[in-house]
Every structure is written in C-alpha cells, then in structure tokens.
C-alpha cells in the first residue's frame, strides 16, 4: 500500500505475564459530559509569524487628530485604501451571506461601490490601516468582523450596525485585526500587513449538505436516526 495510511506502531511489545486487558485503561471526557459542545471557540494561533506595528483609523479626521502621521499621509492612505476597497473588497452572493460575516448594516450593494460588483453584496469599508511614521506598509481597507456565531458568543452586544468594533476588523484577505480598546495601534502578522488583498474574494456558502437533506427528505426513516449521515 505504499506510503498510504500507515499502520500505527505501538503494538505492545512487552511480554506480559498477566492476561492483557482488551479495554481502555481510562476514559475522560472533557466536554461531552461537561458544558456541552457549545463550549467550543478556539482561536487559530500561529506563533511562527513575525508581527508589525500598524495604525487603524475609522476616518481621516481621527488619523489627523491623533497626530501620529502627518495630515497629508492620513489623506493619502485613506484614498489609497478606498481605491483598493473597490477593487478588492470581498464579494458575497447575497446580502444575508455578507451580513452573516460583517454584521447587520455592515454591507452595501456592490453597485454603489463599483459597476463590476453589480448584483453582489460588499462589506462597507469600516476603517483603514497604515504603517506608523517611517514604516512603509501599504494602506489597506478594513471591514467589520462580526460573524453571527461570534456575536452570539459575545451576547449579541457588539458588531451590530456600528462597525464591528466589539470584534474588531478583518482585511480583504480575511485576516483578523483586533485593536486594543481606545488605541489606534495594532499588532499585525507581517504577512497580513505587507500583503493586502490584490483581488476580490468571492465567497460562496451552502454548497455542502443539499444531497444529504434531499436523501433524508426522500427516505424518512432509514437514513439514520433523525435524518443523519451516519451508518
């Protein structure tokens, strides 16, 4: 079978004088018996990535008022981000798909941004990100990051129509940007800070599950307990 799914080593080599038990020595359940499956919510972490400092502002005015960058730099960065926004904002097939990720009121009809995105739904540009003085990072548009299930996990208090500050932002490549409360400074992985989206993502959903639902509907009993997939 070549290198395909290899046999696990680890068969007990030790000679045992007593009869070998055929069952697990211990069983522990962390979640099934405890809080239930709803307790999941683990963030992806990649410690190998280097980080950069960057600045995030909701408006040009906020950028100028803070004074970390010169007013003309703020204006230029916002304009660059807005140009990139039209060309690279994620495209969703429906408003509902878009709002599921970016929150209620977080999306606009594509036609209002660019003719090319007609019939699509785009997240509104909620903020822009630029490098600190002396650091040459490309300006990027940011979008409210407010996926439905994360909003629920936070009690539904954030990520509504005011831009998703509770859960932060995401870039056009889908990376999370989480500002510290009350600060414009963020730490961003280098790959995210230096490689903004260059083409829009078209995100489709619902392409799995239809066949199973159809079989369950046709079969009633006989497709597994309560219309499942198992056997």
């Amino acid at each position: 079978m070549g290198d395909a799914p290899g046999r696990d080593p680890g068969k007990d080599a030790e000679a045992e004088s007593v009869r070998r038990m055929k069952r697990s020595a211990t069983i522990s359940l962390v979640l099934v018996a405890g809080a239930g499956a709803a307790a999941f919510g683990l963030a992806r972490l990649d410690p190998s990535q280097r980080e950069e400092d960057a600045l995030v502002y909701g408006t040009v005015g906020a950028c100028i008022a803070e004074g970390r960058r010169k007013p003309e730099d703020c204006t230029a960065a916002e304009a660059a981000a807005r140009r990139a926004y039209a060309a690279t904002a994620p495209r969703y097939e429906t408003l509902a798909d878009c709002e599921r990720h970016h929150g209620r009121g977080g999306c606009v009809p594509g036609a209002t941004v660019t003719a090319e995105a007609q019939d699509r739904s785009l997240p509104a540009m909620a903020a822009f990100m630029l490098g600190p003085e002396g650091q040459d990072l490309p300006a990027q548009p940011l979008y409210a990051h407010a996926p439905e299930e994360e909003r629920e996990a936070q009690g539904g208090a954030h990520g509504g129509s005011h831009g998703g500050h509770g859960l932060g932002y995401c870039t056009g490549t889908g990376a999370r940007i989480v500002p510290v409360s009350g600060s414009s400074r963020v730490h961003v992985p280098s790959t995210v800070a230096r490689a903004p989206a260059t083409a829009p993502r078209l995100i489709a959903r619902g392409g799995f599950g239809g066949t199973g639902r159809a079989v369950a509907a046709a079969g009633g009993h006989g497709t597994g307990h309560a219309g499942g997939s198992g056997g």
Partner: protein, 388 residues
C-alpha cells in the same frame, strides 16, 4: 458467545445523562438496551473477530491501492468522474484515515463473514467507546458482572492516539468537525470525537456542514478562515453530488475520512473483494447485479444498493422467496448481490457484530440486535463482556 439476560439498572438513564449520552432512545423506544449482554471467550474475540478484522482491513487497503489507479473500478463503483483525481491524490499523498466499522455475521460457530464496511461515516461510536465501557465498570463495581470480566473496547485510547498522530501527520494543530447540527446521533458522535481531539492536543471547533464556505479554491469556516483539516460526518457520495464537491480536489483542506475511503464505503467493494480473494473464509461470494456470474448464488442471496446506510433498500431472498425487505431512498446507482449469511439468532433476536477499526488496527466491538433479518436504524445496542 452467549446471550445473558439480566435486569437493567433502574438508574441507567441517569448514568446516561451524566455521561452526555442523549440519544439512548429513538422514537420512544430504547436504543441502548442493557436487559441483556453478550459474553465471549477471549479466543472468540482474538481469533475469530480481531484477527479476521485485521485481515479484512488489510485486504480492503490492498483493494483501495488498486482501485484508485483503475478507472474501470472507479466507474464500477459509480463514483463520478470529477471525483477520481481527488480520490487518487488523497491515496498517493497517504492522507490518514481515522476509523471505520466492519459489520460481520458471527454467532460463535463458523468464521465471521463480512457483510459491509462502514469506512466513511460510521456512528454508534460514542456508545461503543464510552457508555458500554462505563456499563462494564459499573457492573464490576456493583458486583453485577463476574469479577475479572473484560471487554473488547480500546476505542477511546486508540481514537485519542490516532487523532494526535493525524495532527502530526498533517502538520496541523486544529481539526474542524462538521455534521448536520440537527441530527442528534450525528451531533453526538461528532461531539465525542471533538472531545477526543481536544485530549489529543488539537483545537476542535464544530461547523455545521451547510455553513462551510468556498473562498476561491479554499474551504473556509463561518468566520472566513481557511479550514486546514476537516472531519466530516457526511458521506463522500453526497459531497461529490453537492455543488462544492468539484472543489475538493484543488482545495488544500485535508479531509477525515479522506476521499480514498469512498472506494471502501461502497457495497461494490464486496464484489471486488470476492474477485480478489475468492473463497476467503471471511468473505461471502458477491457480484455486481449486472454480472451474469451472480447466478452462482442460486436462489438465496441479499441484494444491496451500492450506496445506502442503516439497512435501507436491502432485499433478502431465501430459497427463491423474499424473506425481508427494507424501504428507503437508495438504489439509483445500482446493486450488488451477496451470498446469504443470515444473522445468528439468540432468543429470537438477530445480532450484528460491528468490529471497529481505528487507524489500521481492530479496536473494539459493538453489538446491535434487530427483530428482523435486516439491521436498520431501529436496532438496539447491546453491551458485551469477555469472560474472565
């Protein structure tokens, strides 16, 4: 192998609730049934179930190696052509498998016979690995079972170890788990595997199967983050028929079970195994319905759809008369015809032996009893012991 009737524990439902076993009944009837248990001798377990299971699984791997490279075999299994590259690539890469369940006809007399291999989306896992084990320990502690009784059930330990090995093999620290969220048995099975994955040191988020997104050529979760590795309790034949099925081959996501399992979780496997190893003591003769050689089976046989689960659309013919038939939505892709090995009867119940494989090793048993000849989703799970 004996069936031992025994009073059920009056408080077993409390034990079930405490252990997170919420699908112990189905439509008001018990699914977990501890009013009896099966008792095996150690030699029966090791020589007549465990060793043949290992041999059958090895034979299946040998078949998979051949099938993924042979388009005639893939076509005979009615696997759509657009899926062939994904299946072949997953085998050549050595994408690791987690588990499967061989269903055997075995009653303590004569060799176990393979009825089918649930190699892709088997359930009954949690109750096999955990609740059956707790029943044994509780029975030993209360003196309800003979001291020194054991059980063929290393599932929990093997699942945790295998998931850790899969994480290392795939170079990932996260394995997402997808199923229909509203099918309690599926969700319960997946919740248990998530638990095992956590104990194996992996992050294990749940994802409703319909919430999976496709972003370019990458599958993404609800937040839009790429899914590196995905366990799916949703069969490959349905994936391949879904709109996203065509994206599997180019996507960097690694699936558990891997696409190559599609050649095993298909009743056409039975005909191919018989052709590879005719006369194998643990195989029944089997032929595709279109194969004139099926006449060799005579007037007693079982007709099974290539794709089906829980006994649906199975037809049993005995001496030329229909002995049993199960309704269901399957059969459009064709059928195989298999020699008849009626399930052994103990006190009027037909029992089916499920032999679990984790990674590539036999890891435990589950026994399900049915009133009729066909084991459907109405079957009851009955625990077992190995005699001291």
């Amino acid at each position: 192998m004996r069936r031992v009737a025994t009073p059920e524990r009056p408080d077993w439902r409390t034990h079930a609730a405490r252990a997170g076993f919420h699908f112990h009944s189905f439509d008001g009837a018990p699914y977990w049934d501890e009013s009896a248990y099966y008792a095996f001798g150690l030699a029966e377990i090791e020589e007549e179930i465990e060793a043949p299971s290992r041999a059958l699984h090895d034979l299946c791997l040998a078949f998979a190696a051949r099938a993924v490279e042979d388009e005639r075999i893939l076509a005979s299994l009615r696997i759509p052509e657009h899926a062939w590259d994904a299946i072949r690539a997953s085998w050549r890469r050595g994408d690791p498998a987690l588990y499967g369940r061989l269903d055997l006809s075995y009653g303590g007399t004569g060799p176990a016979k393979l009825l089918e291999y649930n190699a892709d989306t088997p359930t009954a896992l949690y109750e096999s690995a955990v609740f059956q084990w707790l029943w044994l320990e509780d029975g030993l502690a209360r003196g309800r079972l003979p001291a020194g009784s054991d059980q063929f059930n290393a599932l929990h330990e093997r699942l945790v170890a295998r998931l850790a090995a899969i994480g290392r093999r795939l170079g990932t620290s996260s394995l997402a788990f997808a199923s229909f969220p509203d099918a309690p048995e599926d969700r319960g099975t997946v919740a248990y595997l998530q638990d095992c994955a956590l104990q194996a040191g992996l992050a294990a988020p749940f994802l409703p199967v319909e919430a999976i997104g496709l972003d370019g050529d990458r599958f993404v979760d609800e937040a839009g983050s790429p899914i590196d590795a995905l366990f799916k309790l949703y069969p490959w034949e349905w994936i391949f028929a879904d709109p996203f099925g065509r994206a599997v081959g180019a996507a960097p996501t690694r699936f558990i079970e891997p696409p190559w399992k599609a050649v095993l979780s298909n009743k056409g496997l039975l005909a191919h195994l018989w052709a590879m190893a005719p006369g194998h003591p643990n195989l029944l003769p089997a032929y595709f319905e279109e194969d004139p050689d099926k006449a060799a089976l005579g007037a007693s046989f079982v007709k099974k759809p290539l794709y089906a689960r829980e006994g649906a659309n199975v037809l049993i013919v005995e001496d030329g008369a229909v002995a049993a038939r199960a309704e269901g939505p399957y059969g459009a892709e064709g059928f195989v015809r298999q020699g008849l090995a009626p399930l052994p009867r103990f006190e009027g119940r037909h029992v089916l032996v499920g032999s679990w494989i984790v990674g590539d090793e036999p890891a435990g048993l589950c026994l399900r009893e049915a009133d009729g000849l066909i084991t459907t989703d109405r079957a009851r799970f009955v625990p077992h012991v190995i005699d001291p």
